[in-house]
């Protein structure tokens, strides 16, 4: 028989439960199994009603960010062999829980939309491609790796504390577009990021950078935005130091 690992999973049905509760499951695991494989085992073999989101199962779709043993991670990118059992699996703490491990991400997507996260290409539009050098691509490429999984927002101490803050993911989205040589919409985006709940709300805890499953240097990009806000006169000199 395969070795078993104890999973303690948050269960919550708003129609029936007053409080979330932890339910324990014995999960048989194989050597290279991921946390997601364990959750699938529970759903397949032990309790089909446990609710969680997942899709691609290899870290590109952004569906399965969870708090696993106290740290935000993608369940499909986290190997069981790298964790100390028993496993504690909880939903993303900063969002309202819909059920079990499923949270309401409405506020997350609304925040990212506020920075106008789309390219506004400058006129004239060429017949072929805009010319863009490899160096110009590098200036914004890292931000394009974001999969909107909301890990950074959940890990952010400023967000957790309840201080108004648009959140690290939204600032990274802004960074991606204001640094794209094809884009002409920087001014509107920077004005949004200069507001009191904008990039300046970041206090450099670096938790976002630590948890980003895509390896984006989130805090560094936020600080680059802060510097742009200062240099462009969007904020007063000391505001960006937070």
């Amino acid at each position: 028989m395969a070795p078993a690992v104890e999973f303690r999973v948050t269960r919550y049905d708003p129609a029936a439960d007053e409080q979330p509760r932890l339910v324990s499951y014995e999960v048989e695991v194989a050597a290279a199994d991921r946390v997601l494989d364990g959750l699938e085992y529970i759903k397949r073999r032990l309790d089909p009603s446990v609710a969680f989101r997942r899709s691609c199962a290899h870290g590109v779709c952004g569906s399965d960010a969870l708090v696993i043993n106290g740290t935000v991670r993608l369940a499909c990118k986290t190997l069981l062999q790298d964790l100390e059992p028993p496993l504690l699996v909880e939903p993303l703490a900063t969002f309202p829980v819909i059920r079990d491990l499923v949270v309401d991400l409405t506020s997350f997507f609304e925040a990212t939309r506020r920075v106008r996260p789309w390219l506004e290409a400058g006129e004239p539009i060429p017949e072929r491609e805009f010319l863009q050098t490899p160096a110009e691509l590098t200036a914004f490429a890292e931000g394009t790796k974001c999969i909107l999984c909301a890990s950074c927002v959940t890990a952010c101490p400023v967000v957790k504390r309840g201080t108004p803050y648009i959140g690290p993911a939204a600032v990274v989205q802004g960074h991606r577009f204001v640094n794209d040589s094809r884009d002409v919409g920087a001014e509107a985006r920077l004005r949004i990021l200069a507001a009191a709940d904008g990039a300046g709300a970041c206090e450099n805890f670096f938790e976002c950078t630590k948890v980003c499953p895509r390896g984006i240097l989130v805090t560094k990009r936020i600080n680059e935005i802060k510097a742009m806000l200062q240099a462009g006169g969007y904020v007063k000199g000391d505001a960006a130091d937070g």
């Binding site: 049905d13 290279a32 991921r34 899709s55 199962a57 779709c61 569906s63 539009i125 805009f130 010319l131």
Partner: protein, 578 residues
Amino acid sequence: MTFARHDYDAVIVGAGGAGLFAALELGRAGAKAAVLSKLYAVRSHTGAAQGGICAALGNREPDKPLWHMFDTVKGGDYLVDQDAAEIMCEEAPGVVFDLEHMGVPFNRTDDGKIDQRPFGGHTRNFGEAPVRRACYAADRTGAMILHTLYQQCLRAGVEFYDEFFVTDLAFAGETVAGVVAHDVRAGELHSFRAPAVALATGGWGRLFRVTSNAYANTGDGAALALRAGIPLQDMEFYQFHPTGLHGLGILVSEAARGEGGILRNDAGERFMERYAPRLLDLAPRDMVSRAVYQELQTGRGLGGADYVGLDLTHLDAEVLDKKIPEITDFARIYLGVEPKEEMIPVAPTAHYAMGGVPTTVDGEVTRDEEATVVPGLYAAGEVACVSVHGANRLGTNSLLDILVFGRRVGRAIAEFVRGGKGPAWPAEALEGRREKVARWRDTAGGPAVAELRADMQEAMEAGVSVYRTAESTAAAREAVGGLLTAYGDVGVGDAAAAFSTELLEAFEVGNLLALAYVTAASAHRRTESRGAHSREDFAARDDARWLNHTLCYLRDGELEFRAKPVTITRFEPKPREY
């Protein structure tokens, strides 16, 4: 009981590349469109496409759309409808430039143009040698295209219904009237009335146990069409990608071979020299998958195991870091393998459906061998069979297909809906579904959905994999037929209304079973080998009898087959050698 009613010009089912491009075109045309997806829009499986999108831009060396078309037709083993392939290859450069103008971060040449790299089966001058045709954004091209289209849809004010699962198409007579959808979060049914509905739900790799496909890839749109009496076309042609991460099936892009990667067996031999002497590791996928399979069958897997090696150790570290960083990471994370120092263990993985819902070149769904159009119903992307891939799809032609024909569907619908509001909502459309869901919830002790799915995947893997026979396909068909019957007694124990993923999976498994049945039966019927359909008992291609598309209907549990002619315009069928 009341339910929410919605009224739109068009409903797009699915939010991958095809659905989003169609929605964007509708938004640009000022039509009122809703995109319904069972996932959040940016979670769609288009985001898992890695290597690139081909277009004859000629940025690195001379290239022509006609060469691209020839490669597509030959790659598809001449089952391609050549009028559709010509449109796709002609429109490819325009689509790539359109995407670039929207913001896709393509890799660049030193002088700032879109960079291009070689890909399997893509050649210059009608098969002479590999050509640099694939435009790419590192090895996350699909994710970049998906996010870019999503961003532009937000800008255009497209309305999204995230986590809405479409359970039924609604018709008034033969004409589409809209869809019934299950709001996953609230656990309620909604009606969406619209004169035009586009199916853009992607593929169904979850028919198989080992697949590169997401959990979400359950072929919902194809099953919707099938249930509405529409046939599915060429379902026996299912592509197995030669390089999935061993055991997991996670895709290792052909770009790894495009950048110089080599497949090796246990003796260290570059075994593709024996199978495709000219294109070697960049031969089309059906051939490479068969070669890998044969190496494994004859005990030449690494250490005698059931995988071969993908050797990247001779490549510059910078190539791995800059051009294929994601897949090198996958090898590290999931297998603990450092691709700069050791070979990546790979084996074929279920990857892509060449078949699907038959359509015209404008994405209008057709219902028979004369291509009679179903008024108001459209399909684009992997769910559709237009057919540009024929019996085997070339790498990068999937992104190209979904974008060219997604865009065309958007434009066709924008034109179509100027014709009026369409039929009234048929009241009975929703009742049947509500009763069925209620019955599932009241059923105790029925078969578990997860077990039906596992049994189906086992039957399909055993019977309808890289190689097939009359016996193996018949066994799969019978096994899946039994599971379909058992599915009729399924119960969903989860009584909670909100976010019942058990209910969602019950819908999905019903869809998968129907598609598995049609796939196994279609594979049994075609007694020849062509492209991805390799019959051990009929090893040769048989143009006299089988140069035609399969149409398979499934009505009240009964299969019916018809043959539909292939459109041949420029390239007469020839033996397929690489």
